[in-house]
Symmetry: C2
Subunit: 136 residues, 2 copies
DNA sequence: TTCCTTGCAAAACTTTTGCATTAAA
DNA sequence: TTTAATGCAAAAGTTTTGCAAGGAA
């Protein structure tokens, strides 16, 4: 994706495409991936630019609030962000922490509870925890 | 549940039933509930005893590692623990943060992906995010 | 006595915030 | 010129750790 395309995508989400935001978005959106704030910061610094930690955190929250990325709750100890906002689920290797996507057609719900009165479903997070097979 | 019953239950999980652990367990196991470390600490202090923050955190981790309680990833900003370790799922009100149980029979999977080679499913976390109904 | 647990404080880690500087409209 | 974004450092919130003191085996 070119810088211009990234900038257009930010604008489409109501985000002013500043230099740092475009740099952050181009790392995130380069491929579907799961990143923590510190991982993203490390990648940006490897890339040789200067982006402050505060900007990374603020930008991740901004992107998430505008629906450009999706926050993940898998860990409890730190926030993860998924650059793939299409509906999908996850495998989580509890030992290594690795996250893998599970496509929507791989899962079928034949029954789901109705939401409580006055509420509607905003989203479904499904995490399938994995461990090494124990052969005994 | 009596103190003796709690102590037996701790022992059954390989946990030495010290005074603090029994107090912590009796709050947790009084009913099926979702608590953060700070909430638990507050309840213990209301109860008039002296338990240190470190002991609460260490004990929660100990209990979770022995399968007496279950850690929940719903929040990203802090750890939650569920005193109900039976299989079940959750509603999560994203505005208030409230968690509600969803019983297993309320959800049916007619299709689930096979785990990757050499891996097996250790558990399934399902969180149904709820928001207020928007009538437009 | 020997080992494990507890409390306290300090440290570590993640995330947010205040404020002066810089960039964008 | 006026408003918004950035960087830095400090602050805030959560969780872990070191160590001396206390409790259990």
């Amino acid at each position: 994706m070119t810088t211009t395309e990234i900038a257009r995508r930010l604008e489409a989400h109501g985000i002013l495409p500043t230099a740092q935001r475009v740099r952050i978005a181009s790392v995130l959106l380069a491929m579907p991936q799961h990143l923590s704030a510190e991982q993203l910061l490390a990648q940006l610094k490897d890339g040789g630019g200067r982006v402050s930690k505060a900007t990374v955190y603020n930008t991740l929250n901004l992107f998430a609030s505008r629906g450009l990325i999706r926050p993940l709750s898998v860990d409890g100890t730190r926030a993860w962000f998924d650059s793939n906002v299409e509906a999908h689920y996850h495998f989580h290797d509890v030992e290594s922490g690795a996250l893998t996507d599970v496509a929507v057609p791989e899962v079928e719900f034949s029954r789901l509870p109705p939401p409580p009165e006055g509420m509607e479903v905003a989203g479904i997070d499904l995490v399938i925890r994995l461990r090494k097979t124990t052969r005994d």
